[in-house]
Amino acid sequence: MTEFEPKIVAFLCNWCAYRGADLAGTSRFHYPPNLRVIRLMCSGSIDVVYVLKALLDGADGVLIGGCHPGNCHYQNGNYKAMRRVQVLKNVLRQVGIDEDRVWLRWIDASEGKLFSETVAQMVAELRAKGPGSMRTSWQLWQETAGCQLSGTEARSSK
């Protein structure tokens, strides 16, 4: 059996993480080809809906790469990204999705080495975890068993 290869969707900011990826390439640093990169102008421009969309549609992990704190091209976009990811991870944990499949990392334009190491590490960890729980959403809906939570009687009288 071939080894499980995780699919990662990477949202990289134009000024730091994406250029870090570029530098990794020009510097010939190798990293596993599991990444689908989406370039953004800023990590702060990402809405969680896109991270969720990736996870729910079968990505095994999502990497969000931004500038180091203090280095944001737009002053503070990365701080905003950080809060959003913090909320996202909390919500994921509470609804039974593995929050460790979402990575937020600060990677500078000069850190090609760090970029390749980050990807290698993420791929290794996701390989160990196995496929994400959302790989086939149809299967998930077939497993649902309906829901009767207490406290909802007023509604069922409708």
């Binding site: 969720l52 039974g96 959403s137 497993e143 406290g151």
Partner: protein, 372 residues
């Protein structure tokens, strides 16, 4: 300084006493307009009504145990462009909390607003309330009074005086049913068949109220807080047990038709244009076929989980527990439980309580440079 008082009015008729008090607010120029729940359809339901003439308050029922919508959104409409008019808005505690969140989001203004908070005994589903009124005898006024009297009795003796129909699930688990951050409070807890008011002392003479502490008010509140908190914890524990896996979470949403009624009803779903109502996630038909080519089968409409998880991320921090999402849901999905339970976990993690104070910023709308 705020003082406790009682309006001088006919003994026993709490609706008349509250209308009289609200009328004085208009007549004495404390406010120019009032937004207040008004009975329509012979008392079978209420609608929020904007009133200028005190004479039109004859059907006002500030304590109505039914809440077709959260009025926070209406107050947003009436205050967002900083009007000159001074508005008094009669709001339930959860509506005030939602309003405070909207103010922080820049979607409502407090400058010319007097918040008249009311003690909330809980609310029934709109359909249940109408049925309840239909089955009772007497005038609309008598029925309205009787419903409130029954609820007060139930709160005093929960074991021997059951409610005729269950409260909305949001109200069953609500443990903050007295107004916070109201300028004037109309109180129902404690006392015998009277209402109390809590207001700035300079208004006492103007409005002709009598300064007086209400007996047992705090005790009555504490008792109900305790029992509601217990229910709340139970509901949360059950939900958390269920949602240890994503399948359990999907269970709670299995019959969702993605009609967006929950987001339309939600007072704090704050985007002016929701991207679920744009074509962002409605691609050309071919995309669905390519999608199903990979998966083998595809639930239609798609994106049920995406929609609810996105809404959780956007609003759970500010969720005030009004439960109008669940009441609006044609499928009766347990949305209050989902948003309150996840909201509770999130709010605790970020040390944030929605509607608690104006100074506290919504964690998603701010950051600290020291927090990295």
């Amino acid at each position: 300084m705020k003082v406790e008082a009682v309006p001088k009015a006919e003994e026993g008729n709490i609706l008349e006493a509250s209308r009289d008090f609200l009328g004085k607010l208009l007549r004495e120029g404390v406010v120019d307009y009032l937004l207040v729940p008004m009975e329509i359809s012979h008392g079978r339901t209420v609608v929020q009504t904007l009133v200028k003439e005190p004479a039109h308050l004859d059907k006002a029922n500030p304590f109505s145990p039914v809440m077709p919508i959260s009025s926070a959104a209406i107050v947003s409409q009436l205050t967002i462009d900083k009007p000159e008019e001074r508005l008094g808005a009669v709001l339930k505690p959860c509506e005030i909390r939602a309003l405070i969140e909207l103010v922080k989001l820049g979607q409502a203004r407090l400058e010319n607003l007097v918040i008249i908070g009311v003690d909330c005994l809980g609310t029934y589903e709109v359909e249940d309330y109408a049925r309840l009124i239909d089955e009772m005898k007497g005038t609309a006024e008598e029925k309205g009074m009787q419903v409130l009297a029954d609820m007060r009795q139930h709160i005093a003796e929960p074991d021997t005086k059951p409610l005729p129909v269950p409260l909305r699930s949001a109200c069953k688990m609500c443990n903050s049913f007295t107004p916070v951050l109201a300028d004037i409070t109309l109180g129902l807890f404690g006392g015998e068949n009277v209402i109390s008011v809590n207001l700035e002392s300079e208004l006492v003479e103007k409005l002709g109220v009598e300064v007086k502490e209400t007996a047992d008010r705090q005790k009555s509140i504490t008792q109900l807080v305790d029992s509601r908190t217990q229910t709340r914890e139970q509901v949360f524990a059950e939900f958390r047990e269920k949602t240890k896996t994503i399948v359990g979470f999907a269970d709670c949403l299995d019959t969702c038709i993605r009609c967006y009624a929950c987001s339309a009803a939600c007072p704090i779903c704050y985007c002016r244009v929701c991207f679920f109502r744009t074509d962002t996630f409605e691609p050309e038909s071919g995309r669905y076929y390519r999608w199903v080519d990979q998966e083998g089968a595809l639930r239609m409409p798609t994106e049920i989980l995406l929609y609810h998880l996105t809404r959780l991320n956007h609003v759970a921090l500010s969720c005030c527990g009004c439960g109008v999402c669940e009441s609006a849901c044609p499928r009766g999905l347990p949305l209050t439980t989902i948003f309150q339970a996840v909201g509770d976990g999130l709010q605790k993690a970020l040390n944030y309580v929605p509607g608690r104070s104006l100074e506290e910023e919504i964690p998603l709308a701010t950051f600290k440079e020291t927090e990295v």
